[in-house]
């Protein structure tokens, strides 16, 4: 690989306006639901209103009789061809996973499961007919609460015999990466500090703005499937692996896709049912979900109980962390499914130097919507836990929470750093990011104001929240995935086609759905090949155009896919070099390449790359033994993850009389290595922040005791609006990643991972003097108010409880705050 410093840098780092925008701001976008094909049939799903039931009969006669209805199909009608929604990551070899049929044949495991499908001439008729399908259900007892699921008193899938899916552990002593956690805890219990907490990661709904839609055209021999998916290549694999259709006959296209956030990282029942109906009828079919269907049937995110034990010395030096997770998978193990919480295993230790560490994760099934990746996937949960704990430790020691972090974090001269969880952090500078953030925030002034408000007994108290986060992204080195029993690789692919008339086609296996790949990829290729930005066309999201790819999730597109692009570009140059030598009548060693031209050293003789492309297209004159093409492909498999980090500071005002919270200021300084396009990066950070803030303050998927999702629309599932949010102060420090030649780190998930604990830490900080050390998310005014009302009643009035209860084996939640909130365990 050529040295990082000698490449042209005109495009990389420039705030190019996006190529994608023109069609999006003028309404010329190609959403899946826009597709109309001749003879197209519209589908509507009949879904179970029950969380757990046996289907004893389905009467479709009345629905079939409705004018305009073409067919009504049930699970048994398509059982042979419907395939299976796969799980790619059985986290242990003995993981229990029920088959996830796209359409139920007889057993419903969560509300919203598809039990029948109507095909009709219009979407409106299909929906009318779906209302007329008469399904007999035998209701079964449903298990809805995660902790109850762990008792196996009621089974989500009686045939499994247990609700437990798998147990997974990472232990620093066993792995040789650190000490014995039990020893660290015992020592701390004797003469140090032990912080024991139980935190709730509530269930969230990804809430991409474009409802999912699938169009399937069975064109005789081939099947074309358009879908609003993040993962066209994985969908194609899933279809081929489970429906009997040969992979070579399946073309999957993700046209413009309106957001995903992990929510479209899935093979969906709806895709498979639409495919089955299209194959059965031999006609193109379209299914577009309503938002209410999306809320209950698209997978959810998070949903953990976290039992945490942090051991430290009296001065606040952390000696060990033990993590025990209970995770709700919902009714099925999704594509990543059980592996999502496991992604947190390497992140609970975060930026800190812990002597000992143990991560335990037990996954359970319940009769709720299945849970899978949502922006951050495992890492926000981990970051929340450790950043909340560091604040609790600071309170216990009686120092500023930033001081406790400084005492424990990895210093800039310790990189590369082998973490207690077994990861090697390649680069970073936590001190630099923190110094910059503190300055931008006006930390000392805000602390002084906080003190004044405390002293004056102001009913509106000020709190400051810190989150010094890191994450691992750029999924992922294939060998690492293999060692974790993951079913696929983590490489990415790119191709570059040098067209005859001077433009360049770039094919990427990443599949953008709002990120701006067309723009950023153009910048990288323009620099590398010395061609104008405008002359680069980026093609993606169609398995026939981009046949190889692992798609877009896990902040991987740039750090993995971007590197594939660099390598393909370098191959183009390498292939063109002997041709240039031939055309210039010079030796290969006498040539140098810069700004799109090969020149003979010390002369003004030269030829442009695009001229070589035209010359080799004619093929009239080229050296023996070479192929007449300078196009190139590359597949890049990363050797390490990338580890972005940052310091996020949040000031929250809490009205102690009403529980209302108001965000006053939010500052973040992120280190994401080399930045290709600062405009796109800022956008990713802003959007990420608000999703994390949404978890802290507003969002939560709530079920009633029947297993009905009561936050099943945008009326009840309260997404942040413009009026709820503020403008942010964002900045960067730069420690280039060493695992790819551009020096980039992922940024897609950083804001979401970092912001949730910053906000909750700020709220708790505002009311800690009232004796409050936790408020369960989302920190609604009601919960904050109740915590304030019950403070002193359920916790010591002193800010530092000197005799905290320790966890007893099998004891229920002992976090005092959890008892004060509604919906615990829901």
């Amino acid at each position: 690989m050529t040295a990082v410093d000698d490449r042209p840098t005109t495009e990389i780092g420039s705030a190019r306006l996006r190529k994608e925008d023109q069609r999006l701001i003028t309404g010329r976008t190609k959403w899946t639901d826009n597709i109309q094909l001749p003879g197209m049939v519209h589908l509507a799903m009949v879904r179970s209103p029950f969380a757990h039931a046996r289907v004893s009969g389905i009467d479709t006669a009345e629905a079939k009789a409705l004018p305009g209805v073409i067919a009504v199909l049930t699970g048994s009608d398509i059982a042979d061809i419907q395939g299976l929604n796969i799980t790619a990551w059985p986290i242990t070899t003995d993981q229990k996973a029920p088959d996830h049929l796209p359409m139920v044949v007889d057993h419903v495991a969560c509300a919203g499961e598809i039990v029948a499908v109507v095909a009709a001439r219009s979407a409106a008729v299909a929906r009318d007919a779906a209302e007329l399908v008469d399904v007999d259900y035998e209701e079964l007892p449903a298990v809805l609460d995660l902790k109850e699921a762990a008792t196996d008193a009621v089974l989500a899938h009686p045939s499994l015999g247990t609700n437990k899916s798998a147990f997974w552990q990472l232990d620093s002593k066993a792995g040789g990466t650190g000490g014995d956690i039990e020893e660290a805890i015992a020592t701390a219990r004797e003469g140090g500090i032990l912080i024991e907490r139980e935190y709730r990661q509530q269930r969230l709904i990804p809430s991409f703005m474009e409802p999912r839609s699938t169009v399937v055209d069975p064109t005789g021999d081939q099947v074309v499937l358009w879908s609003s998916t993040q993962v066209p290549h994985l969908v194609r694999f899933g279809i081929a692996a489970t429906t009997g259709l040969p992979e070579s006959k399946i073309r999957v296209i993700a046209p413009d896709v309106g957001g995903g956030f992990g929510g479209k990282l899935q093979t969906t029942p709806e895709e498979f049912v639409t495919l089955a109906v299209a194959r059965t009828l031999g006609k193109p079919c379209k299914y577009t979900e309503t938002r209410s269907e999306s809320m209950v049937s698209a997978h959810h995110g998070r949903d953990q109980w976290q039992k945490l034990t942090l051991a430290a010395e009296k001065d606040g030096t952390v000696t060990g962390l033990k993590v025990e997770l209970m995770c709700d998978l919902g009714a099925y193990a999704g594509l990543v499914g059980g592996g999502v919480p496991v992604l947190g295993a390497w992140m609970f230790n975060s930026i800190y130097k812990f002597g000992a560490y143990q991560f335990n994760c037990t996954n359970y099934y319940t009769n709720k919507t299945w849970v899978d990746a949502y922006r951050g996937a495992g890492r926000p949960e981990a970051t929340y836990a450790i950043e909340r704990l560091m604040d609790e430790l600071a309170a216990e020691v009686g120092v500023d929470p930033m001081e406790i972090r400084r005492k424990n974090w990895i210093t800039h001269d310790e990189f590369p750093f082998a973490s207690v969880a077994g990861m090697t952090y390649d680069s970073g500078d936590y001190e630099a990011a923190t110094e910059k953030a503190l300055g931008l925030f006006g930390y000392d002034e805000l602390r002084a104001e906080q003190q004044r408000r405390r002293e004056s007994g102001d009913p509106v108290q000020l709190g400051i929240g810190i989150s010094t986060f890191t994450e691992m992204c750029g999924l992922a080195p294939s060998r690492v995935l293999g060692s974790l029993n993951y079913g696929a690789g983590g490489w990415e692919s790119a191709s570059i086609r040098m067209l005859t008339t001077g433009t360049v086609e770039v094919i990427t296996g990443a599949s953008a759905h709002g990120q701006g790949h067309e723009t950023a990829w153009s910048q990288i290729v323009a620099d590398r090949l010395g061609v104008p930005f405008e002359n680069v066309e980026v093609l993606h999201g169609d398995t026939q155009i981009a046949p190889k790819g692992m798609d877009t999730y896990g902040s991987r597109s740039l750090v993995v896919g971007g590197e594939a692009l660099v390598r393909a570009a370098d191959k183009v140059i390498e292939k063109a070099k002997p041709l240039a030598a031939h055309m210039l009548e010079a030796g290969v060693d006498d040539l140098e390449f810069a700004a799109g031209r090969f020149t003979v050293k010390g002369t003004d003789k030269g030829i442009g790359l695009t001229d070589i492309a035209l010359g080799i297209w004619t093929g009239h004159d080229y050296p023996e033994g070479l192929e007449p093409s300078i196009d190139a492909d590359a597949t890049f498999d990363p050797v390490n993850f990338s580890f972005p980090h940052g310091t996020h500071l949040c000031a929250m005002e809490v009205d102690t009389e009403t529980g209302a919270t108001t965000m006053r200021k939010y500052v973040c300084v992120d280190d994401i290595g080399t930045i290709i396009n600062p405009l796109i990066v800022e956008g990713q950070v802003h959007g990420g922040l608000v999703q994390g803030i949404g978890q802290a303050l507003w969002e939560g998927a709530e079920y009633d005791e029947q297993g009905t999702l009561v936050s099943g629309s945008f009326v009840d599932y309260t997404l942040p609006t413009a009026a709820d949010t503020i403008s942010f102060v964002t900045d960067h420090t730069t420690s280039p990643s060493t695992s790819n030649s551009l020096g980039t780190k992922g940024v897609g998930e950083a804001g979401t991972i970092a912001s949730t604990p910053a906000v909750v830490n700020a709220i708790v900080d505002a009311v800690r003097h009232l004796g409050i050390d936790d408020i369960q998310m989302p920190c609604t005014p009601e919960r904050v108010w109740k915590a304030i009302q019950s403070a002193g009643g359920t916790t010591d009035a002193a800010p530092v409880a000197d005799a905290q209860a320790h966890f007893d084996e099998g004891a229920p939640n002992q976090d005092p705050a959890a008892g004060t909130t509604d919906g615990a365990g829901q």
Binding site: E20, T26, G27, W31, S292, G514, G683, G687, F714, T725
Partner: protein, 161 residues
């Protein structure tokens, strides 16, 4: 079926529609204006926002028959003579969109907001866009874009005087 005549983006359209048909479905399925999109089924998200006689409406909240005899402007009719509307340009220049799904509705609402209040404060912009949900941008750049467009729209008006 009911016969309606609606002027959509400057073109008079006469069609037979079911009385229950929503304006957004009429625009998408009958007229072919697929630039206007559906994001929810509870009138919360605003993705389907269009102008009815020059004022913003959520087209999922209006029946097609109610638009009979009226003018509808969609995102596809906003630019004129091949020039982007200042609001469209501002969204592009300020990176106020990512996936772009909320963008047509957001732009139509923002145009209405600035028409009503030519010099809005950040607070007024935020409140004015409260009925339009975006999941990608965190609203930061949308607010910036609307403020920028308000500035350029007001200087256009000054020049026109």
């Amino acid at each position: 079926m009911t016969r309606i005549t609606v002027n959509v983006d400057g073109v008079s359209c006469t069609d037979e529609v079911e009385p229950r048909m929503l304006l957004v479905h009429y625009l998408r399925e009958v007229v072919g204006k697929v630039g206007t999109v559906v994001g929810c089924d509870t009138s919360n998200c605003g993705a389907c926002t269009v102008h009815l006689d020059g004022r913003s409406v959520k087209s999922c909240n209006v029946l097609a028959v109610q638009a009979d005899g009226h003018d509808v402007t969609t995102i596809e009719g906003l630019s004129s003579n091949g020039e982007l509307h200042p609001m469209q340009a501002a969204f592009h220049e300020n990176h106020a969109l990512q996936c772009g799904y909320c963008t047509p509705g957001m732009i139509m609402q923002a145009v209405d907001l600035v028409t009503e209040n030519p010099n809005p404060s950040e607070e007024e912009i935020r409140v004015g866009l409260e009925g339009n949900l975006c999941r990608c941008t965190g609203y930061h750049n949308i607010v910036k874009a609307v403020a920028a467009a308000a500035g350029s729209m007001s200087s256009e008006r000054t020049e026109a005087r």
